[in-house]
């Protein structure tokens, strides 16, 4: 099979891993995570500003647009550490939106927005709809050409961090084709955004009503590049979320280990019981596989064919290992595991949410099967 990727790292990746490990740990202690869960905005604006100042939003943006000119490979260690520390910000949604702009935006659209994003402006994507299908080509919202521009109609769901994003890129169907429309949040009518109740309490997401929104014709992405834009979004989102879920797996396994090493029952540290220790090892093995796939996917980023196989393997393995490790963490914490105070549930919920956003492990495998066997 020649479309299987290899593994390797860049110096920049390793440097960023070190910096991100410390930054995310320092800026996102668990009591702060829990306090932000109650907060409307859902993140610390000072931390978000620092992320912009560190240049992390500029990493995968070309130098011509004031970016650093590296690739998504170097974003991976950052997203991994954010997931590990449940450091929620618009970082992921903004990074994926930038990749969408790079894939489908015109020169003028890129020049207008990429430098802003590189400097710390949040952006997001509005892709999901009521049918619940993960297929990004399945779009029911519409755009109709009128005298005043493209009149949009329909509802987009799970638009992450939309209240913070200055730019929202929405998929709509225009004359039978999927197109991407750039919407400035400041132009939205009152009430267009409704905050959704989502399972991941550390994230924020909104339903966007498009009815009544009209964008200029030149706010549409190039119609000839819709297919590659969809592919780029899938891969960028797959990679970012695989990274977050891999980091999350590590965190929830360490959290479980901590409990297994300190909790006593029947006069014994419970971690000495094989009924707890053996499945924990199995979960750990699955996490290490996920991390290996993650760095393979980062290494293979941009390679035709291999890149997609590697990203989907990473996403599938990350989602299954994160889900499983968090599920067992709840169980192994016993009665405490059933309470909201136990952090295991934060991870279990996040794994469900991330799977819902990009397609769960089974969905990733169904896409992979076509790449591997057909």
């Amino acid at each position: 099979m020649n479309n299987l990727g290899d593994i390797g790292t860049t110096e920049e990746q390793i440097e960023l891993m070190d910096v991100a490990t410390n930054f995310c740990r320092d800026k996102s202690p668990i009591d702060k995570v829990r306090a932000l869960m109650e907060d409307d905005l859902g993140y610390d604006p000072d931390v978000w500003r620092e992320i912009g100042e560190l240049g992390w939003l500029a990493i995968a943006i070309p130098e011509a647009h004031d970016g650093v000119g590296l690739s998504m490979a170097e974003v991976v260690p950052i997203a991994e550490q954010m997931g590990r520390n449940l450091l929620s910000t618009p970082f992921g949604s903004t990074t994926i939106a930038a990749q969408a702009l790079l894939a489908g935006g015109s020169g003028a659209q890129q020049a207008a927005w990429l430098p802003k994003i590189a400097a710390g402006t949040a952006a997001t994507l509005a892709l999901r709809e009521d049918h619940g299908d993960w297929d990004l080509g399945h779009v029911a919202s519409t755009g109709k050409e009128t005298a005043g521009g493209i009149a949009l109609s329909g509802k987009k769901q799970l638009v992450r961090w939309a209240d913070s994003a200055e730019l929202i890129i929405a998929s709509v169907e225009v004359e039978g084709n999927v197109r991407f429309a750039m919407i400035e949040r400041s132009e939205l009518p009152d009430g267009a955004l409704r905050r959704e109740a989502i399972i991941d309490e550390t994230a924020r997401s909104y339903e966007l009503t498009l009815d009544g929104v009209t964008v200029a014709v030149d706010a549409l992405f190039d119609g000839n590049r819709a297919r590659e834009t969809i592919e780029k979004i899938e891969l960028a989102a797959g990679l970012i979320h695989a990274a977050e879920m891999t980091g999350g797996s590590q965190a929830v396994i360490d959290y479980t280990l901590e409990y297994l090493k300190t909790r006593k029952q029947f006069d014994k540290i419970i971690g000495s019981y094989q009924a707890l220790k053996h499945p924990t090892v199995d979960n750990y093995v699955e996490y290490e596989k996920a991390r290996t796939h993650l760095y393979s996917a980062a290494h293979s980023w941009g390679e035709q064919g291999r890149g997609e196989v590697a990203v989907r393997m990473a996403a599938a393995q990350a989602h299954s290992s994160y889900s499983r490790a968090a599920d067992r963490s709840i169980q192994f914490h016993g009665g405490f595991g059933f309470t909201h105070d136990c952090d295991a549930q934060l991870h279990r919920r996040k794994a469900i949410f991330d799977g819902a956003l990009i397609g769960d492990a089974a969905y990733q495998r169904s896409k992979l099967a076509g790449l591997l066997f057909d």
Binding site: T9, K261, G271, Y284, K289, Y295, S366, F373
Partner: protein, 404 residues
């Protein structure tokens, strides 16, 4: 130590290895070749593999980085890596002297005397001297530290009584690395153990072959009845047997002694399984059109790819910082369990044909898959069962307390 070779030097060596294995590799000698050193059954198989190892050694592609003064090639370890890669590329048969080259050799090179190195190393490289391992006992499989084979010192000899099991190649071996109890009063069970480089072809030692679940032979039980060996056979000093035995396990990771090269166990070729799946039918359609089989096969591809890449990641310290012992310690558990699951899965492809076995002309691939599945247990049980491996990972990589 030998200097790191330039890219050009390596390429030249690699090309030579490539050409040699291309010309000399015999993949089908007309009889079934063992996939692992643990399943050498017939004289024909034994003679072929022993001869093959000698040829590879004499061509300079085994032990290339072991010291020249004891029979090795004295070259940088990169050369051996390149040679092993060529071996794999041509799907060459296994090296047979696993216990000698993988376990005893590194121990002797690391801690042995000059005389021991002169005596043992060359003969194990050219497979003249076959080695076997005497750790497990019939009553002490997983609980190795509780080994009871008795070694009593009398003058300048030890007298051995007891039995060892799973001593693969024991009936053909010249030497055994032996874990025996020299002190029954020691403060704990480990401290009573000593390690011997034990000669096999002496009075008082007999072997009996064990028929495996596959119907083949390969495993051997060895009996010791008042067998007398020289006290010089003691290795590492009395009471240090456990730490010697544990050291043999460390060398597998190539930390202290350059790996000898080659391989003793053939890796399963996953693409063969994919091919088998593609050529199988279910309900009149290709098997891989069946969504359940498709999903499972995909998951196995993800697993295989992860374990293959883990071997590369193990050499990347930047990606190993958090739990550095994790990947090395989990490898055996993950790999052997995966092979067991995969080979079992492959039986399901065969439909009615899954009922046939080695020896019937209707068997798919001459029964290769059935044999591989049944043999896979040798690796999930031998060398520490998967259950013991989970304890090892839990205690040494994750820091969980011992199970007692």
């Amino acid at each position: 130590m030998a200097e790191k070779p330039s890219a050009a030097e390596l390429k030249e060596f690699g090309d030579a290895a490539d050409a040699w294995f291309k010309e000399n590799t015999v993949r089908d000698p007309g009889f079934m070749l063992p996939l692992t050193f643990m399943e050498v059954s017939t004289d024909q198989q034994f003679d072929f593999l022993r001869d093959w190892q000698r040829k590879v050694y004499e061509a300079g592609f085994l032990g290339a980085s072991w010291p020249r003064e004891y029979g090795g090639g004295g070259m940088h370890s990169e050369y051996q890596r390149v040679a092993t890669r060529a071996m794999k590329k041509y799907d060459a048969p296994i090296m047979i002297n696993a216990i000698g080259n993988g376990w005893a050799g590194p121990l002797i090179l690391d801690l042995g005397s000059e005389e021991q190195k002169q005596t043992y190393i060359k003969g194990m490289l050219n497979a003249e001297d076959i080695w076997c391992q005497g750790f497990s006992e019939p009553e002490h499989g997983s609980d190795l530290g509780n080994a009871q084979l008795k070694a009593v010192k009398e003058g300048d000899e030890y007298v051995l009584n007891g039995s060892k099991i799973w001593t693969s190649l024991g009936d053909r071996a010249k030497y055994m690395i032996l874990l025996a109890r020299t002190d029954f009063e020691a403060e704990n069970k480990y401290k009573g153990l000593s390690f011997f480089l034990n000669p096999m072809k002496i009075d008082g030692i007999s072997t009996s072959r064990i028929k495996k679940l596959t119907g083949e032979y390969g495993f051997v039980q060895t009996f010791f009845t008042d067998a007398r060996i020289s006290a010089d056979c003691l290795f590492g000093g009395e009471g240090n047997g456990w730490s010697m035995a544990m050291k043999t396990l460390e060398y597998e990771r190539g930390a202290k002694v350059k790996p000898v090269g080659g391989y003793f166990v053939k890796e399963l070729d996953v693409m063969q399984i994919v091919e088998l799946a593609k050529n199988s039918m279910r309900n009149g359609k290709p098997l891989l059109d069946d969504p359940v089989m498709r999903d499972k096969m995909t998951q196995y591809m993800i697993d295989i790819q992860a374990l293959n890449l883990n071997n590369t990641r193990r050499r990347m310290p930047q990606l190993m910082q958090d739990k550095p012992m994790g990947l090395p310690l989990m490898n055996k558990l993950a790999r052997t369990e995966l092979i067991r699951e995969l080979t079992e899965f492959s039986l399901g492809f065969q439909g009615t044909k899954a009922g046939y076995y080695v020896g019937d002309e209707n068997a798919v691939d001459d029964g290769y898959w059935h044999r591989s599945y049944l043999n896979s247990f040798s690796a999930t049980i031998g060398g520490g069962t998967s259950e013991i491996q989970r304890n090892i990972v839990a205690e040494h990589a994750l820091g969980l307390p011992k199970t007692r």
